[in-house]
Amino acid sequence: MHSEIAIKVSNLSKKYSISGSSEPISLGEGLRNFFGKNKTDTKTIYALDNVSFEVRKGQVLGIIGRNGAGKSTLLKILSRVTVPSSGRIEINGSIASVLEIGMGFHPELSGRENVYLSGTMLGIDTRKIDERFNDIVEFAGVQKFINTPVKHYSSGMYLRLAFSVVTNIDADILLFDEVLSVGDLSFQMKCLQKIKSLHNELKTIIIVSHNLNEIAAICQHVIFLEHGQLVEQGSHNLIKKYFEDSIQPSGNNDITGDRVPEKINILEKDFSSEHLQPGDQTIRIKKVYIVNESNKNDTDFFTNQSFRVCVEFEKFTDTDFFDISIIISNMQQFILSAQTITSNINIEEKTEKGDYIASVLFDEDFFNETILNIGYSVTRNNKDVVCYDTHLLRMKINLFIGNHQKQYYTNIQKFLGPLRPKQQWIYERRK
């Protein structure tokens, strides 16, 4: 075996039998089964199906795929929590896995005791923990509280200490399962930084995550699992592909609760009956909808088309004024844009009651090909939020490829990220 290879997985399969003998049953049932009566049908599913790949030393590998694709099973096998049904894995070097951050921590024990306990659970001997103890505590920043029971820690301190144990014990290979999605932003930043520095120390790292941005930020290499099979492996482009796939309605929702919406485009919300209309005695929202400005009847949107988000409402007073905002966020609930009327028009004088339409135009080539959640909020007199819904509508924007572009079109010409403003490049020789 090549010494550069940290992990070699060959033909790995893991099958589970469901609705059958592998469920915990009662002793009586077990005896009946043993004597040939009451045989239950067993159905086998493959959580992993003939998966092979290699991880080179010093590589950061991301494992992506939908829920139920086998990501966690793979990590469980790698960390030896469970055994494969067939296949073989060779691991060169010591391995530390974090299937759950803070695993083995006990709230009643002090920080010091927990460091030793969780370190020992990871298989590190006491002398090594002694050696690294100061580093662990320093990274976590809990020097003052190291003899305090961790139940008195803030959740940030707790997570930092737990993460610190795993990352400071000099394992050659580290496995993380969704651990970076816990904690606040500063903790996540610290984790990412630490993982990058571990990468610089030539540690091999495997990460399972749902957060594709995170994977994109740290992994050079990605494997994509689907229904237990390794569908593809490669670099960043794969992440984008996965992202598109994951929001495509596949009509295949039998696997554990995929978050695939049945229908992507929800372009109109008409609050027809009065008691459903958001608002109060001063204002009622009647309708929120999206119009394709380039082609009024088109319900497919392309990056070269502009669109308008409209809010129809009725005002009941002559004294109040209302600021309408349109809030656009991506599928990861990250707000991309929040446009408000008052930033554009002075509406403080337009206070007479009646029916209104407020709308905002989004230019072509403003958003990249993506899926957007569109919502609104209504504020009265710049103080009270009357009503809001950030996920009222949803639209997909498709990439427009002009005829003259088609022959030159490659993956590389795709923009990454949710925006595609036309920016000017300058390319010239230095004088």
Binding site: Y16, S22, E23, P24, I25, S26, L27, G28, G30, K76, I77, L78, S79, R80, V81, T82, V83, P84, S85, S86, G87, R88, I89, E90, I91, N92, G93, S94, I95, A96, S97, L99, E100, M103, G104, H106, E108, L109, E113, Y116, L117, T120, M121, L122, G123, I124, D125, T126, I169, A171
Partner: protein
């Protein structure tokens, strides 16, 4: 953390190796788990340690009252309490191991699903936790000896032997139970039954001489009778009948078979639990 090459595969063979050396490699984990549980159970709770003493002292009072004073069991000239207390201690520790080690896997399922270590560590360390109670009972026993003015002999130095056999006997059943509860959750229901009725077929409160001669061989087959008799040999100055040691033959067989069964199901634990 094994620092060199690790191979993970399912060789499909029905044979398992015990790999007891692995348990030895994880001895610091056993130590930390044991200290953690002792700390959490007895030291950090306000009444944890007092409760242990209260339990031991109450047990001493009750058996002395019923069997020693009211029923006047004949114990060959030794004060009844001195005779019976080590037996009760042995039974208490035995049922402690059945309860705690027998339930070890199910109650630690959370960590079993999240981290790798030899699962045998769990029932084993749970048995170690009970040593703290044994210590408490021994302190109470020594106080009783002082009260009665009963002398202890050099045989006290042999005490680790019955303690060891007590653990082995408990584990020989608990390891089976802990492995069985993975698949058959109700296997655990056997424990209260064993603990409650076993005490009547084992000479805990009475000397075996009270039993008709023809049933003695049954008593000798009972390993807990042997454990208790050894405790009495060390603590109460009873002379030892070597025939009691026969009872440890089934213990060894049960233990070795249990270890193999445990190893066989060990790999499936994380999937089943």
């Amino acid at each position: 953390m094994d620092s060199n090459k690790i191979i993970i595969e399912n060789n499909g063979s029905n044979w398992v190796r015990l790999e007891l050396k692995k348990i030895w490699n994880y001895r610091s984990l056993i130590k930390l788990f044991t200290l953690r549980d002792i700390k959490l159970q007895y030291i950090q709770t306000k009444f944890g340690m007092i409760w242990s003493f209260v339990q031991a002292i109450t047990a001493a009072f009750v058996i002395n009252l019923f069997f020693g004073i009211l029923l006047k069991f004949e114990t060959g000239g030794i004060p009844y309490l001195i005779y019976a207390f080590p037996g009760l201690m042995a039974w208490y520790y035995f049922s402690f191991i059945l309860n705690n080690s027998g339930n070890a896997l199910v109650s630690s399922q959370h960590i079993i699903k999240k981290v790798y270590f030899p699962k045998l560590v769990l029932p084993f360390y749970r048995a170690m936790v009970g040593l703290f109670d044994v210590l408490v009972w021994l302190i109470v026993f020594f106080c009783i000896c002082v009260l009665y003015g009963y002398p202890l002999s050099w045989k006290l130095l042999l005490l680790p032997l019955p303690v060891f056999l007590n653990i082995i006997t408990g584990l020989s059943i608990a390891i089976w139970l802990s492995a069985l509860t993975i698949r058959y959750r109700d296997a655990f229901l056997i424990i209260p039954f064993l603990a409650a009725f076993g005490i009547f077929v084992t000479p805990v409160f009475f000397p075996h001489t009270m039993i008709p001669e023809q049933y003695h061989s049954l008593i000798f087959m009972n390993p807990m009778a042997g454990v208790i008799e050894l405790y009495r040999f060390c603590l109460s100055g009873v002379s030892l009948d070597v025939r009691y040691l026969y009872g440890f033959i089934p213990v060894v067989i049960l233990l070795v078979a249990g270890l193999f069964y445990f190893r066989k199901v060990e790999n499936t634990i994380a999937d089943l639990i």
